[in-house]
């Protein structure tokens, strides 16, 4: 076994060696600018880009002309939301999103709020899913866009995307979906899901960092966007800038591999995830899964070991790379807003650990991780005044704490 063990595949995934092999020629021999129309260097680059575009489109049931290349999903989310808000400003100014979205969506919406848009941040239910009735009621004549993610990056919960898409279509509202965590992990189809705009990231699907894509529907309806980066008019005028040829080749290859291997891989991921979960649940009491277990990515486990603080747990398992929703591990010193949105209480957010299983993880690594985490949780509970109080029968919610 190689240490440290990487189990943080929602943050980023390692590059698949097959992807690297596909990319390498485009750094040196085939260095051309895909926009150079007059020589072989440009033609080769353009051909590589078009192949990549087709591979991306094929994975999500789109046409390659509908793929706008970006620098990543943050840019794709910005382009989709700001681009729609500006383009359709005359039709309305209301955007609906959810409290558990990625910051790239939430902060973009907050930015637009300051520019005169009205934004509804839908709460989620205890399992992390949005309430479709609530969404239905939130849509008004002024609503131009609904932006709901496919699968959550912290808790892996999969939203009822097809139902959201259907509802948006019926009401004539555009639907943007941040599908960064879902694409390549579970089947995603922009036609059957009625998605109008969809964000994809290279480095979450074993592709390179610094490249992503925005799917922009061309038919029924034809979606228009106001460009956020002006220049040479690349990407149908929606996103100027010289194309990142090796990046696009890499993202394309990563999508091709995912399309071939996803069905088998997801079964393997789910088996490893359940193995890890079952070991925890069998060995430890007061352990809770955050978010729905049925509507969930096969490779995600977000779990709270009550009465143990997340950062102290990470310290004890320093040969396993995972992340925590604890305030102590965040830049803002606030516990995870996603877990808070589930309404489980801040204390469980502080005690949460996110395991993101990936293509290259082995059963041996899962077993090592389970054993290590269990022993550290036990040690820290020995140290925990809260665990002691609970064992003495004290109700922690009735204690007068001195908040600081």
């Amino acid at each position: 076994m190689k240490f440290p063990i990487y189990l943080d595949n929602h943050a980023t995934t390692p590059l698949d060696p097959r992807v690297l092999d596909a990319m390498l020629p485009y750094f040196q021999d085939q260095f051309g600018n895909a926009a150079s129309r007059n020589h072989a260097f440009g033609w080769a680059a353009e051909e590589a880009v078009e192949t990549g575009r087709k591979q991306i489109a094929s994975l999500i049931g789109a046409n390659s002309k509908e793929i706008i290349i970006t620098s990543g999903a943050t840019e794709a989310n910005n382009l989709a939301i700001k681009g729609v808000a500006e383009m359709y400003a005359e039709r309305g100014n209301h955007i609906i999103t959810a409290a558990t979205e990625h910051k790239a969506t939430l902060d973009t919406c907050k930015h637009l709020e300051k520019r005169g848009c009205r934004v509804t941040f839908l709460p989620v239910m205890q399992d992390g899913l949005i309430d479709l009735d609530m969404l239905r009621e939130a849509i008004t004549g002024k609503t131009i866009l609904v932006s709901i993610m496919y699968a959550n990056n912290e808790i892996g919960v999969i939203q009822p995307v097809a139902e959201i898409g259907k509802l948006c279509k019926e009401r004539g509202v555009l639907f943007h979906c941040d599908a960064v965590q879902a694409v390549g992990k579970i089947p995603v189809n922009v036609i059957t899901d009625n998605i109008d705009l969809m964000s994809i990231s290279g480095h979450k699907v074993y592709g390179p960092k610094g490249v992503g894509a925005l799917y922009v529907r061309r038919r029924n309806p034809r979606v228009q966007l106001t460009a956020q980066i002006d220049g040479g008019g690349h990407e149908r005028g929606m996103r100027s800038g010289t194309l990142n040829v090796p990046g696009i080749v890499g993202l394309g290859k990563a999508c091709e591999i995912a399309q071939k291997e996803m069905a088998e891989e997801s079964v393997r991921m789910a088996a490893l995830r359940d193995r890890l979960k079952d070991k925890f649940m069998a060995a430890l009491d007061e352990t809770f899964i955050n978010g729905s277990l049925t509507h969930r990515l096969p490779n995600n486990l977000n779990i709270s070991f009550a009465y143990v603080e997340g950062e102290s747990l990470l310290m004890g398992i320093n040969d396993v790379a995972v992340s925590s929703g604890s305030a102590c591990t965040s830049a803002t010193l606030e516990p995870s807003y996603v877990l808070k949105a589930l309404g489980a209480g801040d204390d469980l957010a502080h005690s949460s650990i996110r395991f993101g299983i990936g293509r290259f993880n082995t059963e041996e690594e899962i077993d090592y991780t389970a054993e290590k985490v269990i022993s550290v949780v036990r040690k820290l509970r020995e140290l925990s005044p809260l665990y002691e109080m609970v064992k003495e029968g004290i109700d922690l919610t009735k204690v007068q704490w001195t908040a600081h």
């Binding site: 009465y307 143990v308 603080e309 950062e311 102290s312 310290m315 004890g316 604890s326 305030a327 102590c328 010193l333 516990p335 209480g345 801040d346 204390d347 502080h350 020995e382 140290l383 925990s384 005044p385 809260l386 665990y387 002691e388 922690l396 704490w401 001195t402 908040a403 600081h404």
Partner: protein, 136 residues
């Protein structure tokens, strides 16, 4: 974020983990922090009635590694000190000893609060037991 060697040492080998009998009049108990803030410290001292010296100190902490280290260090420092000497321990002493970064200063503040809370509890108990003694 990298942890200092001293924080790692206290985390890996915490000193004086445990609990003393809360009902014992010689024991002072301080519990500070809140679960929703991500740290709770319980610090207990046992004071020798005749000498006024802290004979025993125990802690349990729910919190990050720096919080655990701060309270572990506090128990080490408390042992052998008189109550008044213990009151002179400042959070900045803990910050310096453990080389805590700015984002972890609140852990040392919490440890100082825990020391004060434990001493206050001990003093409150001592005065009531004396009053009770006079009345009896």
């Amino acid at each position: 974020m990298a942890y200092s060697d001293k924080v790692l040492d206290h985390y890996n080998n915490p000193r004086n983990v445990g609990s003393l009998d809360k009902a014992d009049p010689a024991v002072g108990t301080g519990i500070v922090g809140a679960p929703e803030c991500g740290d709770v410290m319980k610090l207990q001292i046992k004071v020798n009635d005749s000498t006024g010296v802290i004979d025993e100190a125990k802690f349990k902490t729910f919190g990050c590694g720096s919080a655990i280290a701060s309270s572990s260090l506090a128990t080490e420092w408390l042992k052998g000190k008189t109550v008044d000497e213990a009151l002179a321990i400042k959070n900045t002493d803990i910050v310096n000893e453990l080389s805590l970064p700015p984002v972890k200063i609140h852990c040392s503040v919490l440890a100082e609060d825990a020391i004060k809370a434990a001493i206050n509890d001990y003093k409150a108990k001592a005065s009531t037991s004396k009053t009770a003694g006079v009345e009896a």
